[in-house]
């Protein structure tokens, strides 16, 4: 077995996918080949490292987020519960209402058939009603065409319109602009608006622009105001929070410090008091003892002396 085949056999065994015969054969190869044993040890370590990689915990709220978007029932190809394709057939009505689709559970479509407009191509047949509609429509279109040619295109021309091309040109000539028609729209002359006389469309446009400017200005002010309020509110909250934290921290420190001092002081007093009491007690005992001894000794001596005498 060549080296690559041997390595593949190692992978199979470590994957638990080798047959008993393959596993036994590998054992024999490993026993006879120190280099193969070293390679197998490295692979074992690699597998152990892969197995030791932990699984990540899914983010909190994943289930809720999914369920918020999940319908009560899965959509089906028949259209119940909604369409499954981005550009599927309409779920409301087809080319005719004969093909109406159900809207959901227990809601079968039942409406009178309605013929929808449709284009017909060469080779397709129409019924009698459709042919009659075509004739009517065609007649109306023909009358409209005659009226359009007669009045709209001025045929034949009237006598007043036969003086040549100058008169019509004069009729449609607009007055020229003067300096009165040129106004600075804004302070600083950043934007100039030209309002020619005799052109109401442009005047309307100017009016529209003014309205837009006013709207934009009002919107900007509203946004500024709202932003300022939001900033103020956030700042106030931040200040309140920081102040509260600082107060809490200072209070905690003061309490700690006072507690420590009180404890120290009480401890010292207790020690002093205990020491003093102990000293007093010891002194008193010593004095009493010494006094008693002295008295006893003096008494004994006096008694002895008296007896001798």
């Amino acid at each position: 077995m060549n080296r690559t085949a041997l390595t593949q056999r190692m992978h199979l065994v470590l994957d638990g996918a080798a047959t008993p015969d393959e596993a036994a054969e590998l054992e024999r190869d490993l026993a006879a080949d120190p280099a193969a044993r070293a390679e197998y040890a490295r692979l074992e370590a690699l597998f152990a490292g892969l197995a030791a990689i932990p699984g990540a915990h899914p983010p909190e709220g994943l289930v809720a987020a999914v369920m918020a978007a999940v319908p009560d029932q899965p959509p089906t190809r028949g259209g119940v519960g909604g369409s499954v394709q981005l550009f599927d057939e309409s779920g409301v009505i087809g080319e005719t209402s004969d093909t109406i689709l159900p809207m959901g559970r227990g809601r079968a479509g039942s409406v009178e058939p309605v013929v929808q407009p449709k284009f017909y191509f060469k080779g397709e047949s129409m019924n009698g009603q459709q042919k009659r509609n075509v004739w009517i429509g065609g007649g109306v279109a023909a009358v409209a065409a005659v009226l359009l040619v007669s009045f709209g295109m001025n045929i034949p021309p009237r006598s007043s319109d036969t003086a040549g091309t100058i008169a019509p040109a004069q009729r449609y000539r607009a007055d020229q602009n003067t300096s009165d028609n040129v106004n600075a729209a804004q302070a600083g002359g950043q934007t100039m608006q030209v309002v020619p006389r005799g052109q109401p469309a442009l005047a309307a446009q100017a009016e529209s622009n003014a309205v837009n400017n006013a709207t934009n200005s009002a919107t900007a002010k509203a946004v500024d105001s709202a932003t300022a309020k939001a900033v103020d509110s956030a700042t106030a909250k931040a200040v309140d929070s920081a102040t509260a934290k600082a107060v809490d921290s200072a209070t905690a420190k003061a309490v700690d410090s006072a507690t420590a001092k009180a404890v120290d002081s009480a401890t010292a007093k207790a020690v002093d008091s205990a020491t003093a009491k102990a000293v007093d007690s010891a002194t008193a005992k010593a004095v009493d003892s010494a006094t008693a001894k002295a008295v006893d000794s003096a008494t004994a001596k006096a008694v002895n002396n008296a007896t001798i005498k």
Partner: protein
């Protein structure tokens, strides 16, 4: 081979899906609870970004709802949902057309049952392997994820990735070879 971590639920997956088809929304919520971890981890192994993995995991479950008519109950549900997870992750990568930055928030293994020294060694080994994995290609990470995290068999991997088993073995072999190359300075004796 060790049994897959999710295959044990296979029998009742079908029941839950049937109940959902009949209008029981809670049944689908149970499916989401059951599969959120493997689906999220599959996306995380492939995309290496927690936010992207979360988005893809959501998309996977919605795709399951959308495509439930396509699911053939003769096959394992977990194979089907894994396949959707792999495809959604690949589509996400294609749509965004970028190589995601490495996610440094690697979790260390839970080795409570081991001695402190063994826990440290295991954690260190896991960290090395995880770092090396991050530098592999998406294809390598995908096949290694299916085998070593999801504990899928060769047959299951072949079903999920729509490959034949021979190709699966070859891809696993190559992926481990490349992973070993990344870890050549690290070995069991260290």
């Amino acid at each position: 081979m060790a049994q897959s971590r999710v295959i044990e639920h296979e029998a009742s997956d079908q029941e839950l899906l049937t109940r959902y088809r009949n209008g029981d929304r809670d049944a689908f919520a149970e499916i989401v609870v059951r599969y959120q971890r493997p689906v999220y981890n599959a996306a995380l192994w492939m995309l290496r970004n927690v936010d992207d993995a979360r988005d893809v995991a959501q998309a996977v479950f919605l795709k399951v709802v959308e495509r439930l008519d396509d699911y053939d109950p003769r096959y394992k549900f977990f194979s089907w949902i894994y396949r959707i997870a792999v495809n959604e992750s690949l589509n996400f990568k294609r749509r965004h057309g970028r190589e995601e930055p490495l996610d440094e928030d690697a979790e260390l293994p839970d080795g409570d049952a081991l001695s402190p020294e063994s826990q440290m060694q295991l954690a260190e080994r896991s960290r090395h392997v995880h770092q090396a994995l991050q530098s592999l290609s998406t294809n390598d990470r995908t096949v290694l994820m299916l085998r070593h995290f999801s504990e899928c068999s060769y047959e299951e991997i072949a079903e999920i990735l729509d490959l034949d088993e021979k190709t699966v073995k070859s891809r696993l072999f190559e992926a481990r070879h490349r992973l070993g190359g990344k870890l050549k300075d690290w070995g069991p004796e260290q």
